[in-house]
């Protein structure tokens, strides 16, 4: 097929449709709205379900109902809207049914702004909702990758009866890039055995997240944990750049990783032996890959568009073996390649330490920003 120039939000919407999406429920919010608007036009013309819900709270619960029928279903939103979905997400996780959530992050906290940010990493990766549950989290860094991971998210969600989240920032949602869409998949005709779809010729199916008896709840929690072990074993994804001979390694996801790539290239041009690891699955997180790297490298640099959220996961993976430094821009500012290049140079110049917390050193460096 041929490449088209597409906006991230619209590419994701069309990719989901071609992946066999049967129902979409959402609520407008910048910088995600084009996704909903695309669905508003396409889903009805394909005879599929589309509802502009009265709120994100309603949207996630419409998805909950729809997912209980075994259909491919999804919603999308951005930071404040996601916060309103967390009760529902926790219920869905506890009910062990598949669904896809697209989160196009913006600047926060609060109403904040609509500029690109990655400050909801913890919310999505470390369980913003109540209770012990995990969601598969995929982080694209381009329009093409947004398409590919959207399609993948539906397969993973169903394979593991799990929530799958496509997590990106506003810049990817708003950006146009040439990309290629997959072919249209037919809608799945058969329903999973657990689906609530009318008990024709079978015992009734009940889908709920209640286990009033704590030992049954414990069983459910353990089942979820063990399923997660499988996911960790099978689904970790990441991309490495210039790693062969790297003595320094930058770690960044999504847009931050993408921008870091420019900086790494520039640093390589200066002869600095630096590589880049870009996690694609933020959950499960490429712990072993980073652990291995930490054994081979002098120092690492984590670059994010938040105040050091993935940073802690990287530090956990390195287990104190390697110094990890940190750089970030916050509140909707994307780091620029030259800023990261400066950080890489400083790293190569030996400015790193195992003592104290890298966030504090970064904050000190940020004194005269803006």
């Amino acid at each position: 097929m041929t490449r088209e120039l597409m906006k991230g939000n619209e590419a994701i919407a069309e990719a989901a449709i071609r992946a066999g999406l049967q129902a979409y429920f959402g609520y407008p919010i910048t910088p995600q709205t084009e996704l909903l608007e695309w669905m508003a036009r396409r889903m009805p013309e394909l005879g599929r379900a589309f509802v502009q819900a009265e709120s994100e709270l309603a949207a996630i619960n419409m998805v909950y109902g729809s997912a209980c029928t075994g259909a491919r279903t999804m919603t999308s939103s951005s930071s404040p809207g996601i916060s309103l979905m967390l009760e529902g997400l926790s219920y869905i996780a506890g009910t062990e049914i598949p669904m896809v959530l697209v989160d196009v992050m913006r600047g926060g906290p609060g109403l904040g702004n609509i500029a690109p940010a990655q400050a909801d990493y913890n919310q999505i990766v470390h369980g913003g909702g109540h209770g012990d549950y995990r969601a598969i989290v995929l982080a694209p860094s381009s329009v093409q990758e947004s398409i590919d991971l959207t399609v993948l998210s539906f397969d993973l969600a169903e394979k593991y009866r799990s929530i799958a989240v496509v997590l990106l920032d506003g810049s990817i949602g708003q950006m146009m890039e040439p990309a290629e869409l997959p072919a249209m998949q037919p809608i799945r005709k058969t329903l999973p055995a657990w689906a609530a779809s009318g008990c024709v010729g079978r015992d009734r199916n009940v889908l709920s997240s209640i286990y009033l008896n704590p030992s049954e709840e414990e069983d459910c929690n353990l089942r979820l944990m063990r399923r997660w072990q499988e996911i960790e074993a099978n689904e970790i994804r990441y991309k490495e750049y210039y790693m062969e001979d790297a003595r320094f390694v930058v770690v960044g996801f999504g847009s931050a990783g993408r921008v870091a790539l420019s900086a790494v290239r520039a640093a390589r041009a200066d002869g600095i032996p630096v590589g880049l690891l870009r996690p694609i699955t933020l959950n499960p997180f490429p712990i072993d890959a980073i652990a291995e790297i930490s054994k081979k490298t002098e120092a690492m640099l984590v670059v994010e568009m938040n105040a050091g959220q993935m940073l802690e996961d990287v530090r956990l993976a390195t287990a104190g073996r390697t110094p990890v430094e940190f750089f970030a821009r916050l509140g909707g500012i994307m780091p620029f390649p030259d800023e990261i290049l400066t950080e890489i140079r400083s790293l190569a110049a030996g400015n790193y330490s195992l003592e104290g917390h890298p966030r504090n050193r970064w904050l000190a460096r940020m004194v005269n920003k803006n």
Binding site: L5, N113, I114, S171, M175, E177, P178, P335
Partner: protein, 183 residues
Amino acid sequence: MQTEILIAGFGGQGVLFAGQLMAYAAMDEGRQVTWIPSYGPEMRGGTANCTVVISDEEIGSPMVRYPQAVIAMNLPSLEKYEASLLPGGLLVINASFSGHPLKRTDIRSVAIPGNEIAEELGDKRMTNMVLLGGLLANLPILPLEAIEKALAAHLPARHQRLLPLNFKALRRGAEFVAETVGR
């Protein structure tokens, strides 16, 4: 090789579309390209801008701090983006809006009376094409023909009849030659 262009003006001046045309053209030319708009309530304020990055390799940031070229379609944009231009960069000014003196002396610039030319061509909406022509004449990253192909392919059906006029506007703008700003 990578080139970054920022186009800014009032909403309604066709800023975003001008940028998209470059993106389509670049894609058709087999180049890597990103286009990203300013989005959201800024609309309300009335100003709009977009950034186009054209490159031969995988593009990093779609947003740019120091663009190599800027098209300023109105006064606020000129004031806002003159400073950010890369030294030696190209500034294309819509002269219809401002004759005011530039602060930078390390850039090339060209002032084109976009509105006047457009109105003279008989359609005020051609202003963006005039300035785009002016940009490409002085920063030859894409042949005018590529833009024309993109126009033909992406101009909304209801505007297709304006195709020739758009071509004319591009050409007229391309007649303006930039020079380095002197003291």
